[in-house]
Point group: C2
Chain length 219, copies 2
DNA sequence: CGCACACCATGTACGTCGTACAGTTGAGGG
DNA sequence: CCCTCAACTGTACGACGTACATGGTGTGCG
């Protein structure tokens, strides 16, 4: 597409991949497509990355590196933990398509461990022994990722008419459910129904996680 | 491979796909591979499924249908909720490779809604209004899925020598971390390190989720 | 100035994937 | 007996990841 402007580099490739994923879903992130987008031959990518997997790792680490950790403070541990999870959430929420990738780097690559370190620190401060802190911390971070990754099952939030099609299909399906077998699903249907990405959902479930940690500590 | 024994059907294909996924990871589940495994031409699959996606949906629903829901009882809601999540966990834990598929059918297809119904019912009983119940319930189920899906990032738990290779690599990486910047990660390293799939981890985090719901209710 | 060499990109080719489209089979009912 | 139609085959296409061999280019050293 665009004729070569600057030399390629890991960073411009990763940036390009990220905007591509945001716009068209992770499936659109293809060696060939990235090459084309940069006016270059597919094989040029292999100078900068060993293979596609390490390119995706790059994407994932870029995402994790974008987490803006708040400064450590004197506030109670649960407030600080909440802030960190919030910061994590804020960073990945704009990129739901790539969020799943974070799962496999969060405990492996440096940008992820930077977040993990802070989480573990607070959990230790809250009185968890290392094994417990590790288990709880792992789960907290995975949960935040899931929170955003699980939302729109298709890579791209379907736009316009396709979205309406989906909504209609969902309504039809819910309408077909036996009301005496699924009263609660039907009652909750408007809120289950597709693509609520209201802040509510995220805030509520961050609260749930924090409250859960608090609850664990008491035992 | 095996020469034709019985006629194909959605069920035998799904079963085959499931054992294949368990044994070799989700990437091994291929139209062509499934065909070969059943001594049949790839295109034969398309008689039984519209496309690969609906085959995967079949897999996912098979998984969700295997959840053995406990009978509703008179016990307090939190105990019952815990039992349901446990049952859900038990069902998907043997199939970590396909667990992520469950994410996109749990709120769409009947076998998933069957579980959702019970979760929502208990949350309503605990005093949550439908919108809240929907948000919390969605998150709970997604979290349980994540719990098992997030574990081994490669589709197959790497066996034997490859596993040792992975462990060595991880140790090396952790050893290279600056001890004053990552004291807590390093302290927790043995517990973060690869593939703990001890029951501990699951039990602890189910407790966390339940405690979180309890905590939410109090506000 | 010119040369070498690391660096970056190209060109071609292979094997695998999902699947469109058209053709073939064989069991069972009129 | 033949017709029907569910179940399956055959062939082909375009897209994917990537191995291997080759070509150019800018920068720093002599």
């Amino acid at each position: 597409m665009a004729k070569r402007t600057v030399r390629l580099s890991r960073d411009v490739i990763v940036d390009c991949a990220m905007t591509l994923a945001d716009a068209e879903g992770l499936d659109a992130v293809t060696i060939r497509r990235l090459a084309q987008e940069n006016g270059v031959t597919p094989m040029a990518m292999y100078w900068h990355f060993n293979d596609k997997d390490s390119l995706l790792d790059g994407l994932s680490e870029h995402l994790l590196a974008s987490v803006k950790l708040p400064e450590p403070g004197e506030a109670p541990w649960d407030g600080q933990l909440r802030e960190i999870l919030q910061a994590f959430l804020d960073a990945i929420r704009p990129h739901p398509a790539t969020a799943v990738l974070a799962l496999r780097r969060i405990l492996v690559a440096e940008p992820g461990l930077r977040v993990a370190e802070r989480v573990l620190e607070l959990l230790r401060g809250a009185g968890f022994e290392p094994p417990r802190a590790a288990e709880v911390g792992t789960f907290l971070m995975c949960s935040v990722i899931t929170l955003v990754a699980a939302d729109p099952s298709p890579g791209v939030p379907p736009a316009g008419e396709e979205r309406e099609e989906m909504l209609r299909h969902k309504k039809a399906m819910l309408g077909a459910l036996s009301p005496e077998r699924y009263p609660n699903v039907i009652a909750a249907a408007p809120y289950l129904a597709v693509c609520r990405d209201e802040d509510d959902y995220f805030a509520l479930n961050l609260d749930l996680l924090i409250a859960g940690v608090r609850g664990l500590r008491r035992n």
